[in-house]
């Protein structure tokens, strides 16, 4: 193991490798006018882990994700990425650093086919610009083939071969969510942000989605930061959980620790189950 960044043992369900800190949020505060969406929150995300953020509606989870992905700029606090402080960045610059996300409300192009939608996920990786694409036809084509190959691997991975050519608008909700995940994966991210990927799904679709999230983490070693409502799902999937309430952090740790945390039980879980 890497000697420079000693990793204290983090208990995980299996022997997956969890690496050094990838991203650290330090004392983040985010305000919308007078409303404080996030108040002085700090936590970190380690390489290779599945990190969840839970909390009641309006707790500021989506806002937190938007801070990470550069959509919102916090009034106070610092975002550290791979050991360096991240300067203020545009979302597309953040994307170029290897951070991809899905949205709470599906944001796909309805008229375009599944394949084309996933291809858009690779835009940040395309080297040849539009002008070059028209001039250097051969090179652009080679690049296109390469991208297509990557996309086909993802299609195979998420088992959506049968709908490759179908316009997204015609798909049922559960599949759209899967396509959105595919598009995020197409960017080959090192950190994947998922905003309620299982909201509104039935049990079977949820199980599928869980399996895909675990497989992505396992197969590609992608770090995943996830917002989810379904407690069962969160506790099964996550390595560590952050609990938020009214914009404040009220708990942080492994699922077992969080489940035992009195503040969390009082504020969020209501009654301790089990």
């Amino acid at each position: 193991m890497n000697a420079e960044t000693p990793v204290e043992a983090i208990p995980t369900a299996d022997d997956r490798k969890i690496g050094p800190v990838l991203m650290e949020m330090k004392h983040i505060t985010l305000r919308f006018g007078g409303v404080k969406a996030i108040t002085d929150i700090s936590f970190d995300i380690r390489e290779g882990e599945i990190r969840s953020i839970i909390g009641p509606n309006g707790a500021g989870k989506s806002s937190m994700l938007n801070v990470i992905s550069g959509f919102y700029v916090p009034q106070e606090g610092e975002v550290w990425f791979r050991g360096a402080r991240r300067p203020q960045m545009k979302p597309y610059q953040v994307a170029r650093q290897g951070i991809a996300r899905t949205f709470q409300n599906i944001a796909l192009f309805d008229g375009m086919s599944v394949l084309d939608n996933i291809m858009t996920g690779r835009l940040t990786l395309m080297k040849t610009g539009l002008a070059a694409q028209s001039l250097w036809w051969g090179k652009a084509q080679r690049e296109e083939t390469e991208h297509r190959e990557k996309v086909e691997k993802i299609i195979d991975f998420l088992e959506i071969q049968a709908i490759r050519k179908t316009p997204v608008g015609r798909l049922p909700y559960g599949l759209k969510k899967r396509v959105e995940l595919a598009r995020a994966l197409a960017a080959e991210p090192m950190l994947l942000l998922l905003d309620e990927p299982m909201a509104g799904m039935n049990v079977e679709e949820k199980e599928d989605m869980c399996r895909f999230i675990l497989d992505v983490n396992d197969e590609f070693g992608t770090t995943i930061c996830l917002i989810e409502h379904d407690m069962g799902v969160v506790m099964d999937l996550s390595d560590r959980v952050v609990v938020m309430d009214y914009g404040k952090k009220i708990g942080d740790g492994t699922p077992d620790e969080v489940r035992g945390n009195q503040a969390v039980i009082d504020a969020y879980l209501g009654v301790a189950h089990d």
């Binding site: 299996d14 022997d15 997956r16 297509r148 190959e149 086909e152 691997k153 299609i155 195979d156 991975f157 088992e159 071969q161 049968a162 490759r164 079977e204 199980e207 497989d215 396992d218 197969e219």
Partner: protein, 718 residues
């Protein structure tokens, strides 16, 4: 039986593979769609892959006579595993991939497999689940590496690694492998297939190289199959049909086996490959037809009218004008054939243009005058001018239909290049059968079973009818016993049931005659066989009249709205039935008729659905009444079940045949209610979900009466 040996020493599948690699080197042998592209292996490449795999298995310690269980979806590597096992002197045992761990455990235990080759993680998980009870499994090999990294690999290997090991170690194993291949004889075991069976535990049918190769040769000759054939391998690998088709016939004739990308893309892949030879159970043809019909219901007026007209027209003329020329020899398209084709096509286009023009003009005026009734008008009268005398008119019309309707239809179904298609496994609905034949698809029927290496009877080109299963296949002798049971004897007749001498003895007599368990008779005049039902299911009713439930069930199932039917009546005074609606067809019908429903259960119990199903039942009753032998099988009362009958609940076999006794037992309360007087009944049923968990559903079902045609004369006579 003739105990001949084939001349060229081609006594095993590995030997045939070696011959193909020599003689057909660069011709395609296997294709598989992966990552959106068709990957291809030539015979030579396939041969090398199989040899490398076999050496890898030798390195893992595979012995002569071992059983190698193979479970996964159709992929070239799975087929290669079977042949590789044969090369090592082991016996491949393909399993149904959708079997739950419990069912798999029985088969693995029964054959004592030391090696299991799995398609993916899902199958590996099942094997691991049963491994605590079955201790003889030593090695698990898996094809798809996905999700497998975390597993304990002390006794588990990726197929790619086994292949690499085989290649690396080929100096050590080359001679050993050749020696083992040389040991194979015409009578050594080729494969062992477990039959699902409608009763009891599955039985392992042992088939020898002779069985498979002789049968494949005869059937390849029967239909003039050659190396240019394209087939799509999508049927369960554990089914004997797939083994004969994708291994036996493919190796003998040397044609290419195409594997779909995933089960869900089957229809797209079918279209892309355009198979020339197809083997499918009736339900595949049924679901294809249903999807066409649903799409046509939503089509525009003109399209709908054309479709209706030409389909109606094709019913009488398709046999004459539509069938592909029955070819005796394989050949590349000659200039003459191309010219004939171009001529036919040009003819069709000419008439098509004329038809469309004429209809556009007429349609315009009709719509001006009666805007609402346009569709009715087109339905009422054919869209063609009647300028030509018969039979020219029919010929031209059919060519027009070919361009406008049949051609595009065959194209969307992926069936435009079909020369021979077989339906087997169950009876097919006459409407469905006629539909495919009328648009020029040479769909034929076949009667067979695992114990016969498939073929017992089949229909020769040009002698095809929906109600018979054809004449005995070449080399097969068939006789009918006094009680109506069909017996056969052929080179394909199985060796034995594995570790089950009793069953072997009760099925196959000392002269080699095998009881099929089906009742049937040869039609006088044509010599074609007709099957009525399972011999043991042909029972007697209380008054001694014949009770043939499957016959009635098939009649019911021929309606697209009815997915499954179960008829009761043995030892009773009248027949009653359970009905399963087809959610696809009925759901669509409900949508078109603005009937709202929130669940399968609600739709199944809807009064309008009941009314529709009653009409179907009464139609069946009328046709049964016309047949004096079967007239007492008319259905007096029926109910629509609140859940689909499911193989996971043990109600159907894996090949979707109903298990009547199990159903009668499980739903005893419903059967009793059918024979009682009640109008409704509340019931509770246990169901198994896909993941194996169990649950309960509760429902209140309606019991409905159906009108029967009185059969007083026959009763009086009896």
């Amino acid at each position: 039986m003739t105990e001949t040996q084939p001349a060229e020493g081609l006594v095993s599948i590995p030997a045939l593979l070696a011959r193909n690699a020599r003689e057909r080197m660069d011709r395609p042998a296997y294709r598989e769609k992966e990552f959106g592209i068709w990957q291809c292996w030539t015979w030579q490449q396939a041969h090398q892959e199989v040899r490398a795999l076999a050496m890898g298995l030798l390195a893992l310690g595979l012995n002569r006579g071992d059983f190698v269980a193979i479970v996964g979806r159709n992929r070239p590597s799975m087929y290669w595993s079977m042949v590789a096992a044969q090369m090592c002197g082991a016996v491949p045992v393909p399993l149904y991939q959708d079997a739950v761990a419990e069912e798999m455990a029985y088969v693995l235990d029964h054959c004592g497999a030391r090696f299991v080759i799995c398609g993916d993680q899902e199958q590996v998980d099942k094997v691991i689940e049963v491994q605590d009870r079955i201790h003889h499994i030593e090695q698990v090999v898996y094809v798809d590496k996905r999700g497998m990294r975390k597993y304990d690999h002390s006794r588990m290997n990726a197929l790619a690694d086994v292949l690499a090991e085989g290649r690396a170690a080929h100096f050590r194993f080359e001679s050993e492998l050749d020696a083992r291949i040389a040991e194979l004889t015409y009578d050594s075991t080729c494969v062992m297939l477990y039959t699902s069976g409608t009763t009891g535990k599955p039985k392992g049918v042992v088939l020898s190289n002779r069985n498979i190769i002789e049968t494949a040769k005869a059937s390849v000759a029967f239909d003039h199959l050659g190396q240019d054939e394209e087939v799509l391998a999508y049927l369960p690998m554990a089914w004997v049909g797939d083994f004969i088709f994708s291994i036996g016939q493919a190796m003998v004739a040397g044609f290419c086996v195409n594997c779909p990308e995933s089960p869900a893309t089957m229809l797209t892949d079918l279209r892309e490959i355009g198979p020339t030879y197809l083997f499918a159970p009736p339900r595949i043809f049924e679901s294809m037809l249903t999807s066409v019909m649903i799409r046509m219901e939503d089509a525009g007026d003109l399209k709908h009218a054309l479709f209706k007209h030409f389909m109606e027209f094709a019913k009488g003329t398709g046999e004459t004008y539509g069938m592909p020329r029955y070819r005796k020899q394989q050949s590349k398209p000659t200039l003459r054939r191309r010219l004939r084709w171009a001529y036919r096509f040009a003819m069709g286009i000419g008439f098509a243009v004329e038809t469309i023009l004429e209809n556009a003009v007429r349609g315009f005026f009709v719509r001006l005058r009666h805007p609402i009734e346009a569709r009715k008008y087109f339905k009422a009268r054919g869209p063609l001018l009647n300028l030509y005398p018969q039979p020219w008119r029919d010929y031209f019309s059919y060519r027009t239909g070919e361009v406008l309707v049949y051609g595009p239809l065959k194209n969307t179904l992926g069936l435009s290049r079909i020369r021979v298609a077989y339906t087997a496994g169950e009876a097919i609905g006459p409407e469905i059968f006629e539909f495919y034949r009328s648009i020029g698809i040479n769909l034929k029927q076949l009667y067979g079973q695992t114990e016969a290496s498939v073929f017992i009877t089949q229909q020769p080109d040009g002698q095809v009818r929906s109600d018979t299963v054809g004449v005995p296949s070449p080399g097969v002798e068939v006789k009918i016993a006094d009680n109506g049971e069909v017996f056969y004897r052929s080179p394909g007749t199985f060796v034995e049931y594995y570790k089950n001498a009793d069953s072997t003895a009760s099925t196959k007599d000392s002269e080699g005659w095998v009881a099929t368990g089906d009742a049937g008779f040869f039609e006088p005049g044509t010599g074609h066989l007709r099957i009525i039902d399972r011999a043991k299911d042909v029972g007697k009713m209380a008054d001694g009249a014949l009770f043939a439930p499957k016959y009635v069930e098939n009649k019911l199932k021929f309606f697209p709205d009815i997915l499954e039917a179960v008829v009761f009546g043995a030892g009773r005074d009248r027949c009653c039935a359970f009905i399963n609606i087809d959610l696809n067809a009925v759901g669509n019908w409900a949508e078109r008729n603005a009937i709202a429903y929130s669940s399968y259960q609600e739709l199944a119990g809807h009064p309008k659905v009941y009314a529709m199903i009653r009409a179907h039942v009464e139609e069946v009753n009328r046709s049964l009444a016309a047949d004096p032998i079967l007239s007492s099988c008319q259905v007096h009362r029926f109910l629509i079940l609140h859940k689909e009958l499911d193989a996971d609940d043990g109600e159907l076999t894996r090949t979707r045949k109903v298990r009547r006794n199990i159903i009668a037992e499980k739903y005893a309360d419903l059967v009793a209610a059918l024979y009682g007087g009640a109008k409704t009944i509340a019931t509770e049923t246990e169901v198994t979900y896909e993941d194996g968990r169990k649950g309960h559903i509760r429902a209140t079902l309606t019991l409905a009466d159906a009108e029967v045609v009185p059969v007083a004369e026959r009763r009086a006579a009896a």
